[in-house]
């Protein structure tokens, strides 16, 4: 178990104008599950590959366990990696796949067999050991890939979007499996994903990235409720945070904070505004009210989210009074989109 640290790390690919990873600083804690979250092209996979040693930095350092990794190939770094495609060797059985790193480490056969059995037991795939990858389902392949990573007892796990190849239905169960796996094993893990639900569900801390930089590093609670800038604010949350321009600031509030008057207790700093509802999307567990809001700034299209437990009847094509609590308001400046202090409205 070790800390992964990255200092002033930059990676510039030839032929690209902007760096894929731009002067990044990051440090995990021991045993932490750190998620790198961001849209495609933000540099999260590049960062992971730099930590793994599959790419060399243009400048800056990577340290694992306090030791600089410069000049060391992946196999000297005591890491294990699970790829998006799982990268199972198709011509080898599951057993031989899991065994492969141990053979490379020149472990003798009895030791190897014990470790393979242990890893397979932990992941519940013992009965699948003699099958080839093409005879395994997506979820089973993922577990074989995890077993292969586990068996080396690395200091760090690196996972590159391992759930994106699974059916949507399977993903929730697989996510649960991963979390249990992490709890049992406790190794420092760096996990890359573009799916914010995954990130929020799995991570101890989330590094929200865009364009090669980290926008915010914090717990799921922090990045969700106290976003550092408009990018983080709108990237997390579905539907995203509503933004209304008022003079020289952007006022943000989450859809679930926009509630009909009477449903919520106003606090000091709360605002009451007219909300004209155009359309309602009934999604079962929640209702999305799409409409225009005036009263804070110019007329802006916003979405309000009511849980199904709030059964207040909202008339369509009419304006009703809605309330946002002062504690739920966030303010961002209009140049760089960074958070600024609260105001009164």
């Amino acid at each position: 178990m070790a800390i992964v640290e990255v200092r002033h790390l930059t990676k510039q690919f030839e032929g690209n104008a902007t760096p894929a990873v731009d002067d990044l600083d990051l440090a995990t804690t021991e045993g932490e599950y750190l998620v790198l979250l961001g849209p495609s092209g933000c540099g999260k996979t590049t960062l992971l590959r730099l930590i793994a040693g599959l790419e060399q930095p243009t400048s800056g350092e990577v340290l694992i366990g306090g030791l600089p990794m410069v000049g060391l190939p992946p196999r000297a770094r005591k890491i294990a990696m699970v790829f998006q495609s799982y990268a199972l060797y198709p011509h080898k059985s599951a057993r031989r796949n899991i065994e492969f790193p141990l053979k490379a480490a020149r472990m003798d056969p009895e030791e190897r067999a014990k470790k393979v059995a242990w890893a397979a037991e932990l992941l519940g795939i013992t009965r699948l050991l003699d099958r080839r990858p093409r005879h395994l389902s997506g979820g089973e392949r993922q577990r074989v890939a995890l077993a292969r990573a586990l068996v080396r007892e690395p200091d760090v796990f690196l996972l590159d979007e391992p759930l994106s190849n699974l059916d949507a239905k399977l993903r929730a169960a697989a996510r649960d499996d991963l979390k249990q796996f992490q709890d049992r094993v406790g190794t420092t893990t760096v996990y890359v994903t573009h799916d914010q639900v995954e990130a929020m569900g799995l991570g101890d801390r989330i590094a929200v990235m865009s364009e090669g930089r980290i926008r915010q590093l914090g717990t799921p609670h922090d990045v969700y409720h106290d976003p550092a800038d408009t990018f983080v604010a709108t990237f997390l949350g579905s539907p995203p945070m509503n933004m209304v321009r008022r003079d020289d600031v952007l006022v943000g509030f989450r859809p679930e904070s926009l509630l009909p008057k009477g449903v919520v207790q106003p606090d000091d700093g709360a605002v009451t505004i007219p909300f004209h509802v155009h359309r309602v999307e009934n999604l079962g567990s929640e209702r999305h009210l799409v409409g225009t809001l005036s009263g804070i700034g110019p007329e802006t299209r916003v979405i309000a989210m009511l849980p199904s437990t709030v059964s207040v009847d909202i008339p369509i094509d009419e304006t009703s009074e809605f309330v946002i609590r002062g504690a739920d308001l966030r303010f961002f400046d209009t140049d760089a989109g960074l958070r600024t202090e609260r105001r009164r409205l």
Binding site: A52, G53, L54, P73, P74, R75, I79, A80, M81, F83, Q84, S85, A87, Y89, P90, H91, F100, P101, K103, A104, A105, R132, R134, R148, R152
Partner: protein, 298 residues
């Protein structure tokens, strides 16, 4: 009625055979017909001097099989092809791995390395003919200069050396093709797998033998088949280098068929010799394709 006819060519059932027709006619007329004609000749006594067709059963085949030159040709064909292909596979694999790396002047190297394959075979053979000349060979000169030999090696005049020379030329010209095909097979291995092997701790040799080679086996097999057919059916190298000599030492099936059938005028015997090519090629192809099927892992 009229409308139906207008759309006649839209019907796949009509269009498909029509589009195939020219090629099929061509192949039937100039491949199938001569093929069966060759079978017919081999069962006859046709010669250039006496073109009358008389059925003689398997007499030609019996005569051919008793002929020591024919037996020599058959073993030579098989031996030369087999040895060539083994060397081609090993060297081709190494060359493919070398060419996947980056190094300076790569395009020049690639150009030069492809020259043996892209040069017309008879012309390449001419270049080698001079290189192996019994008096002026530069190879001999270099060996003399290094003090390793005194006189000349008779590359093409000595029975064993002549076979070696033929094999050398065939290997020389096929390796580039094999390398290119194998390279395509290597490129088809997903980068993820290579990365995973790196992370898993596999060094160069382990990665090569446990990941790269097994995964490129189907393509390698196809390359082998192509190379083997090219060597087995080639006539120009032997013809230009040795004319089958010295004293039939390098005679192979195609050249012997030529000397018997066209130069010697005995069409029937020539056809009989040439026909041996087909079942052997068929056997090679079936063997290799069967193993490719078994190897399908992806």
């Amino acid at each position: 009625m009229k409308d139906r006819r207008r759309y006649l060519f839209d019907r796949d059932g009509v269009l498909a055979p029509l589009m195939l027709l020219p090629s099929v006619v061509y192949i039937v007329a100039l491949v199938a017909v001569p093929f069966f004609l060759a079978i017919a000749y081999s069962l006859s006594d046709v010669t250039v001097g006496d073109p009358s067709f008389d059925y003689v059963g398997l007499r030609n085949f019996r005569a051919v099989l008793k002929d020591p030159v024919f037996r020599r040709s058959l073993t030579n064909s098989l031996f030369i092809t087999a040895v060539t292909m083994v060397l081609v596979l090993v060297l081709g694999k190494i060359l493919a791995l070398v060419l996947t790396r980056d190094f300076r002047f790569k395009w020049v190297v690639r150009f030069l390395i492809l020259l043996p394959w892209t040069t017309p075979v008879p012309l390449a053979a001419i270049a080698w003919l001079w290189m192996l000349d019994s008096l002026f060979s530069p190879i001999d000169w270099t060996l003399r200069w290094l003090g390793l030999i005194d006189g000349n090696l008779h590359w093409l005049g000595n029975s064993e050396l002549a076979v070696v020379s033929v094999i050398a030329v065939q290997v020389w010209r096929i390796v580039p093709l094999a390398a290119v095909i194998i390279m395509a097979g290597l490129a088809a291995i997903p980068q993820d797998i290579n990365d995973a092997a790196e992370v898993d701790g596999a060094g160069f040799w382990r990665k090569l033998f446990e990941v790269t080679i097994p995964m490129s086996l189907p393509v390698t097999a196809v390359a082998t088949l192509f190379g083997a057919v090219l060597v087995f059916t080639d006539m120009s190298v032997v013809f230009v280098l040795t004319r089958g000599g010295p004293v039939d030492a390098t005679q192979i099936l195609p050249t012997w068929a030529f000397f018997r059938g066209i130069a010697g005028g005995d069409l029937a015997q020539g056809a009989a010799v040439a026909l041996f090519l087909f079942p052997l090629l068929l056997a090679m192809a079936v063997l290799i394709l069967r193993s490719v099927r078994k190897m399908e892992v992806m």
